[in-house]
């Protein structure tokens, strides 16, 4: 199990940030991803692996209006 934005979420072996975004259906382009307190740049989403027990924050900024 991992935490995503403070809520429990099932973990799977080899889960990358990129895959997590897909699984969660997070299609919004202005995201800030923080893994265990460390900000991850968007060009590192594919290569960054999420481990069991990790805390991930996927902060959606705002746009529009």
């Amino acid at each position: 199990m991992i935490k995503v934005n403070g809520k429990d979420y099932p973990w799977e072996e080899g889960l990358s940030i990129k895959q997590l975004l897909v699984n969660k259906g997070f299609t919004f382009p202005l995201l800030v991803v923080v893994l265990n307190g460390k900000a991850i740049a968007d060009n590192e989403y594919v290569g960054t692996v999420v481990n069991d027990g990790d805390d991930v924050k996927i902060i959606h900024l705002m746009s529009g209006g």
């Binding site: 934005n5 202005l30 991803v33 996927i58 705002m62 746009s63 529009g64």
Partner: protein, 721 residues
Amino acid sequence: MNRLEMKTAHKLVGTFNYQLGQLEKGYANRTLYINLSTNGFAEKPVTELMKQKFIGGRGFGLKLLWDGIQDHTQWNDPENELIISPGPIGGITQYPGAGKSYVVALSPLTQSAMDSNAGGHFGPFLKFSGWDALEIQGKAERDVIVFIDGTKGTVTIEEAPLEAVNSHILVEQLTDMYAESEADKVTISVVAAGEAAEHTLIGLLNFSFYDSRRKAVRVKQAGRGGMGTVFRDKHIKALVIKSPKVRGDLNNPADMSALKKAGQKIHEEIRTLDDSQCRMRKVGTAHLTQIMNDYDLLPVRNYKFGSDPEATNITDDVFLSKYLHLNGHDECWYGCSLACAKVVKSFQLKTGPYKGKEVLVDGPEYETTSAAGSVLGIFDPEFVIETNFYCDTYGVDALSFGTATAFVMECYENGVINDRITGGLKLNFGNAEAALELLHQMAKGEGFGKIAGLGIRRMKKLFVEQYDANLDFLQDIGMEVKGLEFSEYVTKESLAQQGGYGLANKGAQHDEAWLIFMDMVNHEIPTFEDKAEALFYYPMFRTWFSLNGLCKLPWNDIVPADNHLTAEPAKVPEHVQNYVEIYNGVTGSNIDEKGLISQSEVVYNFQRVFNVRMGFGTREYDQVPYRAVGPVTVEEYESRQDRYDAQMKDILNLDPEGKTTAEKVQILRNYREEQYRKLCDAVYLRRGWDANGIPTIKTLERLGIDFPEVVAVVKKKMTQG
């Protein structure tokens, strides 16, 4: 009819000569007053107090309106005013998004002070012509054009009987008429409404600019709150301005280098990052349609649902591949490299008085894809474009049109109204033909269109009084607050955004706060205090754009590459700092971010007291329809049953097993309504308001707006209870 005949038919009924001058640090230091009943004019000085407390734009509009009307003034009294003001930063060309005009008047929908904004060139041209605001009072006997010639220092009121009323024709006629040559057209801007603004309460204003690359007059809209209705009620056919040639230094800023520095930085960000962020330069705000659908936030069938598989027919990809005409220059004011003002250059109309004609359509934006699409259960891109065009040219706010028509459709499908009442229009969800016919009826002032054009609040009353409708049901599904129809977001899963709509001064528009992701997805503001803090900071910050003639989009529709490393990325701290610097750079002040928030807080609280003065502005008027809070019907509940059942278990510790859907709807409702009440309590406290939502005397004193007339309004209300 040719332009010469039209011009010859003009009858001059008022002239005013004024001294041309230079702007000083963003201000002309005077405002122009015109009375259409007397054809009188006045030049009013802008005092230091006015600048300090009200800054410009919406702030100036509210102050002038406050001084110009009585407590009992109605929107259609001659005494009502229509004020246009750009604000001190308005008209700079170094930083993107600095060409907005802010319009203020008593609204026919809310009967209180409304503010609405538009791009286009009128606001900056007004300043370059020597005026910080244009204040129009009175009512002309016949249709008039007000012409401000900022190159000669003259203002004229001219009766103008022959020109068209509908905007797409009128703005061209007047641009041709008042420009001295093709090259001169860029110095002209026109404000116009349209035929439907005469017959409905949801009229909008179009602000024009000449697109020299496409050789076409384009329009941007001040849509919300019936400003076009006020305009036509005053028998204004158009406002026309001729500006001195635009230069980057016309504002005479205190520190040009500060503007250039901030501008260069953000232009580079936009150039390098926009393609991988919001693609504003490519598709404008329409990029949001797909996203809102993905997150269950796109209004579908009168906000019952937040997504629909057919929504893919009206997303940016469709508009981009088939309809949009891009040339890399879609800025609605000079220097806006975010350039989101998209255009469909040649669209053949299928209905209405211009059927068969090829027209240019400004848009569609995200909101139009909902208001002229999903909220009506219509997923046809050509319906979106056609409705977009007719709303603009007829002078109808597309958002109020869409949200009100969606309400009508739900009423029709529930038997609240029938064919006899609609004059045979089969107003089911999905019926594009009927929706367009309703719009054409609004323009003609005929049939059921006349009723729908009253807006939701008045329709609810009428349906109850005349057709014996169930008021509770209409209150639940009628998506309006304070009389203003909702803009286009589903808020059921974001308590903070319910407050964003319900607590907004003008009514249900999201320009004060858009907190859905922060609340619903990020879970960043879990407590009432957190939500109240967000409902303090964001409305205050966003109010600031309206005081300064700025567009909000370059604040957070593009973010710096290292924004994710900042402590509060949602605020986009680097851009906030840019605003501090350009404000100081223009005006020569020395404020910081806190100062910027304080400026807004003054005007925001003044507007709240304005609402109190007009008989509103208390808790009762901050309530939202239950459709904005949770599922009204069994159908809605069951469409998201897993979500709601899980909430019942996890949050309320109740087992949904064995309960009917109707029982579950009621349980959830009791809970969510209580949450909304608590949210209001927390927000009032944070904003320095009393338990009824009125700014306390202490708050007014702290903000330095304890003017006797303001305090008197508050004291009177508090003693009345």
